[in-house]
Symmetry: C2
């Protein structure tokens, strides 16, 4: 083993031990503090390159239980979480879309319109996402629609999830998929489950946020992000293949060669369309998105579009399931034990005396940075939005500006870590992106979106909420 | 698709619809009745060959939720079950034991002693299991020890989980592994989690069951089963390779050729031994077996004995995880909604007027047959043992005989379906056995053990509980 990795492991152990044996801050239980040590340690191990995220999570699961920090039931709770299961099943569904050739066909269709450059393909993902977003209250389900398209576009460009070709187009497109969801989710009130809940909480502060007022407030920063983020990612993380002037005509030729839809493609097209429609209406009809995915998967299996041999190759999905469920459980418990609220209140308390604009900026930065500890956007919003809004208003920050800013941040900070949103997981787990790239790019685009919202969005919010 | 399968699917649909629209029996809710329809339908689909168990479970998950029969939280609860997670992690741990070569070495060692015939290898599994059983309150964890040995024995015999060679030795050995657990678990009070709980319940009926009185009561039927079951399985499900007179000397030669333990084998040997010791002491030290497995897996990953590439090939473990968790949740809910108790009481009520020996036999048969509906031995014991014991005593059956008989049945009926015990899952999911074989052999050996216990065990119980 190389020395760098050994050093990173020693540093991880030192960090965990250092926090573990540090005097427990007043207001926290020993149990909460120990959970914090293990959780921070596992995130640090991944960022520092000491362990892959799967290994770090497996150790964390063992450690929290064997040390008596969490009960087994609490540590394993994430495995039964419907959203996490949705990711698992959506991965298998995506495999069917790709396997039968429909993904390729969709990819070629997109290429005929946007395919003159890899950047064009990136924009096409952002556009498709933004257009379908208001109908999708689950951004994870929306990721389940975007992912097979991005995957097929990469494949069509000769980019596979291996070291040799992943950076040709795939790595760029996968990160565009994740980044796109951060923007589309903030654009519409109904594009992410936490948005309407946040609007409801804001009502306690005398704010009335509906579909239209949300759209007005989000329009300027979100549309600006939509216009600039793909090209920004393109600059900081350029694909190896950039110009593909002949791609549209090649794609047309390939489409002609593919001929009409095969039986398998028709089955997948009809089933997948039905799933998309049901996912979009799941809020209205009160249908469980995961159960819709289960049923669709069942259709693919019963019609032999997917076979048990295909499933047998999806061990990476199992790995993703395990690490995400474990980290999700730990983060949820950290929150439930009051650690998050404690941190928020401590931070807010330190801000007394600042002018409102300063307090506003610091609160926002703190809210965003704390997302390093959360494995769910909705969980952080539920845990901290009310606290931060309350503190900010007491410090003189106008409620409307702060509320919208925090709710938008709840969307645009989702890519700050690969596990920061369940909607990321398919892209992060695609094999096209390394953990190092995910953390680095996640931090950069979150900073980019923060500055964009602060500099352009805040004056706009001051004007629309005046 | 062949007509047979199409017919089986039509029959499944007809069965589900038939039960679904049947007038709901008094004493049950509509919800319970619908859950029963879906659960029976998915088991029937597997037995009739309409769908693989994975597909049937995936449909069942979608159906129970979309029809409003179960809430998503209840339908997904099984995914967070510690025992099910133990199976998942034990599968990955077993992979490490096999991959590093230690499994092969252990296999050769067993062969040098028992290897003159495949039947001898079968007996060696039963013996190892019976000897280590009193230290293992989790028969699933014990399966995690036996499975890599059985797998390595099969591999060493040139038998892989494919159609061409699976029946050479592997299919026989895997079923021996499952069958062995049905016997070893009943032999000792502490060999299965439900045994001491059952003894506790029996206390309400004036019975005092401790380690020694359990062993005395179980000794005759269990040791007889140990002596006869391997040869019985050998007769009804013969391996293609039976005599291997040169195998012991070949194994010794192979061991010499392997030389001393490699670094990886040492890591696995020490870690696995530590896991086995901790599993055995988990009851005393109050350690979670699953967390022990998680930690062991972490060691294998951190030392590169297992890599992420190995995990990526374990898609079948994901499939097993999903189908078992779904069926487990459905069965647990069927029980929680009172269906099982209802059935038990109905059956018992019909027995009034029978002589005690007749009532005893019918109660026992009913208890065993009802295990077709249960996806956990402990759950059935908790749900029905008290009810059946109560009814039997009222009908004049001696409490001691009935209590022991039901508790022994709770162990020996575990292989009646592949999902009848979490301890089965690794063997059933090994790829060596088809669903058809599992159901057929499961039914036959359960009948064999029932008759053995009834004919030999009952007189013995009459004598020891006199």
């Amino acid at each position: 083993m190389d020395l760098r990795r050994l050093g990173a492991r020693a540093a991880t152990l030192a960090l965990v031990a250092g926090i573990w044996f540090w005097p427990v801050p007043a207001g926290l239980t020993v149990q909460t503090w120990h959970l914090f040590a293990i959780f921070v340690g596992s995130i640090f191990a991944v960022v520092a390159g000491a362990l892959p995220i799967f290994t770090a999570s497996v150790f964390a699961a063992g450690a929290v239980i064997l040390s008596g920090t969490l009960s087994p039931a609490k540590a394993y709770a994430g495995f039964a979480n419907g959203t996490i299961l949705l990711i698992v099943i959506a991965f298998l569904v995506a495999r069917a879309v790709v396997k039968c050739g429909l993904g390729e066909r969709l990819g070629y269709l997109v290429v005929t319109v946007f395919g003159r450059s890899t950047l064009g393909l990136g924009y096409s993902l952002f556009l498709v996402d933004a257009v379908i977003a208001p109908a999708f209250p689950s951004n994870t389900a929306r990721g389940g629609v975007l992912y097979p398209i991005a995957f097929s576009l990469a494949k069509a460009g000769g980019s596979n999830p291996d070291e040799a070709t992943r950076k040709r187009m795939g790595a760029f497109l996968m990160f565009c998929g994740m980044a796109s969801l951060t923007v589309s989710s903030g654009l519409w009130l109904t594009a992410m489950a936490a948005n309407p809940v946040g609007a409801e909480i804001a009502r306690n502060f005398g704010l009335k946020i509906d579909f239209v007022s949300w759209l007005v407030a989000s329009s300027v920063p979100s549309l600006l992000a939509l216009a600039t983020l793909p090209v920004f990612i393109y600059k900081i993380f350029p694909p190896e293949v950039t110009k593909t002037p002949d791609a549209p005509s090649e794609a047309r030729a390939a489409l002609r060669k593919m001929g009409s839809l095969s039986t398998e493609e028709k089955i997948v097209a009809v089933t997948f369309l039905a799933m998309v429609i049901l996912w979009a209406m799941s809020g209205t009809l009160k249908l469980d998105s995961t159960a819709i995915a289960f049923t669709g998967l069942g259709v693919f299996l019963a019609t032999n579009v997917l076979t048990m041999k295909d499933i047998a190759q999806e061990g990476e999905v199992l790995a993703t399931f395990i690490w995400f469920a474990v980290l999700f459980s730990l983060s949820a418990q950290l929150n439930e034990l009051g650690f998050m609220g404690y941190l928020g209140e401590r931070l807010a308390g330190a801000l007394g005396g600042l002018p409102w604009l300063g307090a506003f900026a610091v609160l926002l930065v703190a809210y965003i940075l704390m997302h390093y500890l959360f494995v769910s956007q909705t969980a952080q919003m539920l845990a901290l939005f009310g606290v931060f809004l309350d503190v900010g208003v007491k410090l003189g920050v106008p409620a409307g500006i702060l509320a919208f800013s925090l709710l938008f941040a709840t969307n645009y900070f989702s890519a700050i870590t690969p596990q920061g949103s369940s909607a990321n997981i398919m892209f992060a787990g695609s094999g096209y992106l390394t953990q190092g790239e995910l953390y680095r790019l996640g931090a950069i685009i979150t900073a980019f979106l923060f500055i964009l919202h602060l500099v352009i969005g805040t004056p706009w919010l001051m004007w629309v909420t005046r």
